[in-house]
């Protein structure tokens, strides 16, 4: 029989990555009792541990131009950015960077290598896997309590307010009840455990528990894609220096040069161009796959140059034979589809009303990849915005949660509510027969992971996938089993991923246009009058309701300008009537 741990805190932070650590450290400034609970180990789990390629910092002293960056945001995000947040991200980023330096985060020393890699944004690189653990240490130093290896499954609600969360330890199976005056959700984005990408702990747990508590979830139709080796042998030894080789040596299945983005600039003094869109997916769809990294024409000088870049960037370099990737063999390596299905940072997540990360539920704040802050718009504007965006939004959420916690009384939670949620925590563990979470996850992956569901969409296919996902939801998820607390975690992850899939499919069906990374073959044009808007999903008496929230008119493009001038990136089929 598992035991129960009841903990009380002023501010509860769910998820201890970049956003969570910044939220907790900020909340602690008010002298409150602050607790981080993490599904794995705060500072070492989730996306933040891999988030090292670039950290965006806006600094006028580095010749950054505020107006140019705002224009880049809006053009890349195709006018559905929340521009208030774009401003906040830019303006708060320098202080965040200065804090991190003061706390001991080491950044790449050779700034000329990285500062202008992706213009017009300026960015720096933390040393590989070193930033988030330092943030954890800082949180510990200022007195934040940290509870690792406890998975929160649901939010506690009393009189319409969020007053903490419930979860369990997958080491012991023990129940954890956190009573809190304010709760910050920084539990990451969502994915379907892509086999190619080492972010399989990110399963939409935050948005799942927020949805079940009645919050609105936005931007689920927008995903991430970027070029990486499709099956990177050992992700922890990822060798970003070789990214420089990607575009030059990428080919389609017929051996033609295949740029990852439809409109792409050679890497060089100008750096990469920011429009990372769906060119590879379109090539695959046209039957011209697989997309390969064809190293046959690579010269010794090319290899030396890539090794130099990699060594300078401070990663554990040149271990390719060890990791099963020998560049000297000049082989052909599949490179499309790595992070398939990962939700878009700074767009998808729990809807926030303002730049304090307030959600529709009093007492609940959301930030990081879990926050529907919408600064990115329809496309991840620039590398490095997910990291600095998580820090900025996390800090804002922590500050606002602390202010709120100072004003409210200690919550009293009905025993019945805790009892109801406790039953849900252990439901799979108490079932003797049914379906294993590993199997249901595989079924979900097979349904959701093809490029023609994630990126090249059509209403008929989305509907077909939705039919399957509804079946998983109604028939298999209620019969999930868990032989031990480890499998209990898998069961909750599976349940959250199925919910996330339903949200993604309904939002994608609802947005009857194409924009950014959301491409609909049956609606290949942007539809500005209708879809300068954000989608929202919300539970209404057990059914998922989809709605539209218009972008404020002052942020719209000039509709009297021709379509081609408003949008310079083309979708296949958009001019065929």
């Amino acid at each position: 029989m598992s035991s129960e741990n009841a903990l009380e805190t002023d501010v509860l932070v769910i998820g201890g990555g970049i956003a969570g650590c910044f939220a907790a450290i900020k909340a602690k400034e008010q002298g409150l009792d602050v607790t981080i609970v993490d599904k794995a180990y705060a500072g070492k789990s989730g996306a933040s541990i891999a988030a090292q390629i670039f950290w965006m910092v806006f600094n006028p002293e580095w010749t950054d131009n505020f107006d140019e960056l705002m224009d880049t945001f809006v053009k890349s995000g195709e006018y559905i950015n929340n521009r208030d947040w774009c401003e906040v991200i830019l303006k708060d980023s320098l202080a965040i960077y200065q804090d991190m330096v003061a706390w001991g985060v080491e950044f790449h020393p050779d700034w000329s290598e990285c500062i202008h890699m992706f213009p017009p944004f300026t960015g720096i690189r933390p040393k590989f896997r070193k930033a988030a653990p330092v943030l954890r240490k800082q949180a510990e130093k200022v007195g934040v309590k940290i509870i690792d290896r406890v998975m929160c499954t649901d939010l506690l609600k009393q009189d319409g307010k969020i007053v903490g969360a419930i979860g369990f330890s997958y080491d012991t199976g023990d129940l954890y009840v956190f009573k809190a005056k304010a709760t910050v959700l920084t539990a990451g984005g969502s994915s379907y455990k892509p086999p190619q990408f080492a972010m399989r702990s990110i399963t939409g747990d935050g948005e799942g528990m927020a949805y079940r508590a009645g919050a609105e979830i936005t931007g689920k139709e927008f995903l991430t894609t970027f070029p990486t080796i499709a099956s990177y042998p050992l992700w922890g030894r990822v060798t970003w220096g070789y990214l420089n080789l990607f575009p030059r040596f990428a080919t389609d299945g017929e051996g033609n040069r295949a740029l990852p983005f439809s409109d792409y600039l050679e890497p060089g003094p100008e750096g990469f161009r920011r429009e990372w869109k769906l060119n590879w997916e379109f090539l695959v769809h046209a039957g011209r796959g697989p997309i390969l990294w064809d190293l046959t024409p690579v010269t010794d000088d090319d290899i030396k140059e890539a090794q130099r870049a990699e060594t300078k960037s401070g990663y554990r370099a040149i271990e390719h034979e060890r990791i099963g990737l020998d560049l000297n063999q000049r082989g052909k390596i599949p490179i499309a589809g790595g992070p398939a299905g990962y939700s878009q940072a700074g767009q998808a997540g729990v809807w926030v009303h303002d730049t304090k990360c307030t959600t529709s539920l009093p007492g609940l704040y959301a930030a990081g990849d879990c926050g529907g802050t919408r600064y990115n718009g329809s496309f991840l504007t620039n590398p490095g915005l997910g990291t600095s965006g998580s820090a900025v939004t996390g800090r804002r959420a922590g500050g606002a949660a602390a202010e709120y916690a100072l004003q409210v009384e200690k919550p009293v939670i009905a025993k019945e509510e805790i009892g109801r949620l406790k039953k849900l925590v252990y439901a799979s563990a108490e079932r003797k027969s049914g379906f294993s979470p590993r199997w249901v996850t595989q079924l979900l992956q097979n349904t959701m992971m093809p490029y023609f569901i994630l990126y090249i969409r059509h209403g008929e296919r989305l509907q077909a996938a939705l039919t399957m996902v509804e079946f998983l939801r109604d028939h298999l998820v209620p019969k999930l089993t868990a032989k031990d607390p480890h499998e209990l975690r898998l069961a909750h992850e599976t349940k959250n991923m199925v919910l996330s899939a339903e949200m993604m499919l309904r939002s994608s069906l609802f947005r009857t246009e194409s924009r950014g990374l959301h491409y609909r073959e049956d609606y290949p044009r942007r539809d500005d009058p209708t879809w300068l808007a954000w989608t929202k999903v919300k539970d209404e008496r057990g059914r998922m309701k989809v709605s539209r929230e218009p972008v404020p008119k002052e942020w719209w493009p000039d509709l009297s300008k021709p379509y081609e001038e408003r949008y310079d990136l083309r979708f296949p089929g958009e001019f065929v009537e």
Binding site: P233, L234, G236, G434, S436
Partner: protein, 73 residues
């Protein structure tokens, strides 16, 4: 496979790898003395355990592994 071995001769039982694994693949043995591979099915080849092990006791193979769906549940 993925994670292949934790050398019991080298392992000092410090437990760093248990916390480095975001997927709960590694646990301490029943006596709490050595780290063991408990749930290899969840290994995602991130290699963080191997990178963080202070005594190089861990080996993660670059060969990926996906279980076959041989049964209906």
């Amino acid at each position: 496979m993925s994670i292949e071995r934790i050398d019991p001769e080298l392992c000092t039982g410090c437990g760093i790898c248990v916390n480095s694994c975001p997927m709960d693949v590694i646990r301490m043995d029943e006596k709490g003395e050595k780290a063991i591979i408990k749930y290899p099915e969840e290994c995602m080849c991130c290699d963080y355990c191997e990178l963080d092990c202070p005594v190089d006791a861990i080996y993660v193979s670059p060969e990926k592994y996906a279980p076959l769906m041989v049964s209906w549940c």
